[in-house]
């Protein structure tokens, strides 16, 4: 019992560090998790971390939260999951709360307004880069292209709620995979 409490505390501190020092979250967290959880504390093996991230990808919720909760649970049960998740969230929460307090007043200055006009164009470049990287990682197929294009058109040019598009495409994926399996194709 005492060990479990101690482990949960270490988890909290570890994920606090991860939350405070990784930019972007998600996969950027893997190297620190491997170093702290696998090498230093030997709580999990490297393959287990990869498994956890594979699952974090296919369960609802952002990867950063999913993987923190999962690692915490594997190491120290429910309390561990709570501590790890709380740890990864806390730095963001504090930093962003403080920033948003000053952001509005700050952005009244003319120079800051001009800066943000430039920054928005820079952000466009950043999100295009993120989009291209995601596209490169996605398995390609005709079926995939149709869904990609369909989701793009529905989201960009209609008022349909994004959530309905997501549910619809999950169902289509499910049915399509079942049909392929019936025809004896493995996908």
């Amino acid at each position: 019992m005492k060990d479990k409490f101690k482990n949960a505390l270490i988890l909290f501190v570890t994920f606090l560090k991860i939350g405070a020092f990784t930019f972007g979250g998600g996969y950027a967290m893997i190297p620190i998790i491997e170093k702290e959880i696998c090498e230093k504390h030997k709580w999990l093996r490297g393959e287990e971390i990869l498994d956890i991230f594979a699952i974090a990808e296919s369960t609802p919720g952002p990867i950063a939260i999913n993987s923190a909760t999962f690692v915490g649970y594997k190491v120290a049960g429910f309390f561990g999951a709570f501590c790890a998740t709380f740890g990864v969230v806390l730095p963001s929460f504090v930093i962003i709360s403080v920033i948003s307090l000053v952001l509005k007043e700050f952005s009244e200055y003319k120079a800051v307004k001009y800066a943000f006009t430039g920054i928005r164009a820079g952000v466009l470049a950043l999100v295009i880069k993120a989009l291209v990287s995601m596209y490169k990682k996605c398995p390609k197929s005709l079926f995939g292209y149709i869904l990609m294009g369909g989701a793009f058109i529905l989201s960009a040019f209609t008022e349909i709620n994004v959530i309905f598009i997501i549910i619809g495409c999950a169902v289509i994926g499910l049915v399509y995979s079942a049909v392929l399996r019936k025809r004896g194709k493995e996908i």
Binding site: P60, I63, I65
Partner: protein, 203 residues
Amino acid sequence: MSIFLEFLKLFLTFFRIGAFTFGGGYAMLPLIQDAVLQNKWLSEEAIVNFIAVSESTPGPFAINIATYVGMERGRALLDLPGGFLGAAVATLGVVLPSFIVILIVARVYKKFQESKTVKGCMNGLRPTVIGLIAAAVLNIGTTVFFPDGFSLSALNPYNIVVSLVIAVIGILLIFKKKIHPIILILISAALGIAAGFAGELIR
């Protein structure tokens, strides 16, 4: 509507966003744009500005944006204490679905990994998320080039040219030179300031 219901709505909105986000990074962006613009909690311009803030501060984008939207919405409702309440409520909302789902999946994760249902859904979801993010990127592009809409009187050729130049420089730097996002943001800020004051001289 009473204040309590407004905070409840904030919580439920972010709970839904958390529950329907698949993947990391910007996978949440389309859902955020949809909900935030529909409820008029923030402008699209504020969202794009915040992406830059989130890229320059540590922590996952999902948490950063939830905290930010919650803070802004809460302050509009109840000033500073409302801001912290809103931030807490939105962040809790976005985290909770993950937390619950993972606690369930962690017990049966071998089965989950082999599940044909999960694989099938993911076959549909992976390309869909990319299509949705592409639409979110299109929204951002529209905000960058046409911040005041498409009408002829709102068109600002100077802004369009400046933004185009900065975006192209940004794309070249990040794809070819692979510079860090923070450096790119600093460069775009400097170019934006220079272009803004130069624009005043021209006019």
